[in-house]
C-alpha cells in the first residue's frame, strides 16, 4: 500500500472513529430535515415546493461540521510537521485529507439527501439529480472548506473562523445546485446549473490544495 492510500485510510478511520463521521453529520442532517416541517407548517404542497432546496441547504451546513478539526488535530499533535517535511508533497497531502473527509462524510450525505427530499414530499424523479448534485457539491464543500480549516489553524475558536471564511465560498455551489434542482422541478433546462456546479467543484479540487498547503506552511513556521 502506498503512502497516499495509507493516508486516505487513516483519514477515514479517524473521521469515523469514536462516533464521529456519519453519526454527527448524518444525525445533524436528519435532525434538521425532521425539524423543518414542524417549523414551517404541515401543508404538504408548500413543503413539497421547498423540499429540494431545503435538503440542499441543510447538506451545505452539514458539510461544515467536522471541518475545523480537519487540519487542527494533525497540527496539535505534531503529525502535520512530519507530513510537511517528509513523504508526499504537502499540496497532495491536503488534497488527500479533503478527499478522505468527503468520502467519510460527504458521500454518505449524498445518499441521505435524496431520501430526505422525498420524505419532505419532493418528486422521486428529482432523486438522481439531487444525488449527483450532492456528490459534486460535497466535493466543492470539502475542498473549499479545507481552505478555511487550514487558514484558521492555530487560532482559538477556529471553528467559528472557519465558518466565517467558508460560508462565502459555499454560496456559488449552493446557488448553482439549487438553481439546477429548481429548474428540473419546474421542467426548465437544468443542465447549465449542474455544469456550473461541476465546474466549481473541479476548480475547488484543483486550486484548493495549493491554498491549503500555503496556509499550513504559514501556520507551522
Amino acid at each position: 500500500m502506498n503512502p497516499g492510500l495509507g493516508l486516505l485510510r487513516r483519514e477515514i478511520a479517524i473521521a469515523w472513529g469514536r462516533g464521529g463521521g456519519l453519526m454527527v453529520t448524518g444525525g445533524f442532517f436528519a435532525g434538521a430535515t425532521l425539524l423543518l416541517p414542524l417549523a414551517s407548517g404541515p401543508e404538504p404542497e408548500r413543503l413539497a415546493q421547498i423540499a429540494p432546496g431545503a435538503a440542499w441547504t441543510v447538506l451545505a451546513l452539514s458539510a461544515l461540521l467536522g471541518l475545523e478539526r480537519l487540519f487542527e488535530r494533525d497540527y496539535e499533535d505534531g503529525a502535520l510537521d512530519l507530513m510537511a517535511h517528509a513523504g508526499l508533497p504537502l499540496e497532495f497531502t491536503c488534497a488527500l485529507k479533503c478527499l478522505g473527509h468527503w468520502l467519510a462524510t460527504g458521500a454518505p450525505l449524498a445518499v441521505l439527501a435524496p431520501l430526505a427530499a422525498i420524505a419532505l414530499g419532493a418528486s422521486p424523479a428529482l432523486a438522481p439529480l439531487l444525488f449527483a448534485c450532492a456528490l459534486a457539491g460535497g466535493l466543492a464543500f470539502a475542498f473549499t472548506g479545507g481552505i478555511g480549516a487550514a487558514l484558521s489553524l492555530g487560532t482559538r475558536r477556529g471553528g467559528l473562523l472557519t465558518a466565517v471564511i467558508v460560508l462565502p465560498l459555499f454560496v456559488p455551489p449552493v446557488i448553482f445546485g439549487g438553481g439546477a434542482l429548481y429548474a428540473f422541478d419546474s421542467g426548465l433546462p437544468w443542465r447549465a446549473g449542474f455544469s456550473l456546479l461541476g465546474a466549481y467543484a473541479a476548480a475547488a479540487v484543483a486550486l484548493g490544495p495549493l491554498a491549503m498547503a500555503a496556509a499550513c506552511r504559514n501556520a507551522l513556521s
Partner: protein, 200 residues
C-alpha cells in the same frame, strides 16, 4: 544517502524576538551534536529550521552538497515533543502508517518493534500508552525508515533508566553506521562528540 550538516552564521527569530545569531556548526557522518541552552533559547526552533519547517532570518543550512528539498524529504527524521501519534488509533496502525509514509520497509519495522520491545503494545490504542511507551513508539519510526540525519528534541526525557541506556545504544549504533544526530538535551549525551550551546 550520505549527508553532512553545516550551519553557517545562522540567526533565528520567533515572534519578533531574536533567539540567537551567528550560530555555526559542522557535522560529518558519524558525528553527534548535543545542543544545550536554557529553556526558550531556541533549541526546538533550530531543529525545526533544519527540518525546513520555519524560516531563518539569515545564514545558511546546507546538507553537504545535497539538494535541501531532497535531503529534508528523504534524509532526515524529526522527533519532537509532539510525536504525531493519533490517540484513537492503535500503536500498530500508527507505526505502520508512518513507516510507509516515510518510505520504510516492513522488515525494518519488525526489527524496530523487536528492538524497542513494542510487540505487546501494538494492539493498544495510543491513548493507553504511557509517555515513555509513546516515545519508544516514536523512536521505532526512526529505525523503520533508515535516514542519515536524526533531529531529536529531548529524546530521553520520558524514558526510564533502562530505556535511556537502550536508546543511547541505538544512537551509538546509528552513528556507527555513518548517521548524524543533532539532539537538544539538558544533560550532556555520553555519545556526543560535538557540543553546541545556544547562548541568548
Amino acid at each position: 544517502m550520505t549527508l553532512a550538516l553545516s550551519l553557517g552564521d545562522l540567526s533565528l527569530s520567533r515572534g519578533g524576538r531574536r533567539l540567537f545569531s551567528g550560530l555555526n556548526l559542522c557535522l560529518e557522518a558519524g558525528q553527534a551534536c548535543a545542543l544545550t541552552g536554557p529553556n526558550g533559547s531556541g533549541k526546538t526552533s533550530l531543529l525545526r529550521a533544519v527540518a525546513g519547517l520555519c524560516e531563518v532570518d539569515s545564514g545558511r543550512i546546507e546538507f553537504g552538497g545535497s539538494d535541501p528539498g531532497t535531503a529534508r524529504a528523504s534524509g532526515l527524521h524529526l522527533l519532537g515533543h509532539l510525536d504525531g501519534l493519533k490517540a484513537s488509533r492503535t500503536a500498530g496502525e500508527e507505526l505502520d502508517f508512518w513507516t510507509r509514509w516515510q518510505g520504510g520497509q516492513p522488515e525494518a519495522m519488525k526489527a524496530a518493534v523487536r528492538r524497542l520491545d513494542l510487540l505487546r503494545l501494538l494492539d493498544l490504542e495510543v491513548r493507553r500508552l504511557s509517555a515513555g511507551q509513546r516515545r519508544r513508539l516514536a523512536l521505532a519510526r526512526l529505525l523503520s525508515a533508515p535516514r542519515p540525519l536524526w533531529l531529536l528534541d529531548e529524546p530521553l526525557s520520558p524514558l526510564d533508566a533502562h530505556w535511556r541506556g537502550q536508546v543511547l545504544d541505538i544512537m551509538a549504533g546509528h552513528l556507527g553506521g555513518g548517521g548524524l544526530i543533532l539532539a537538544a538535551v539538558h544533560d550532556p549525551l555520553p555519545v556526543a562528540t560535538v557540543a553546541l550551546e545556544i547562548a541568548p
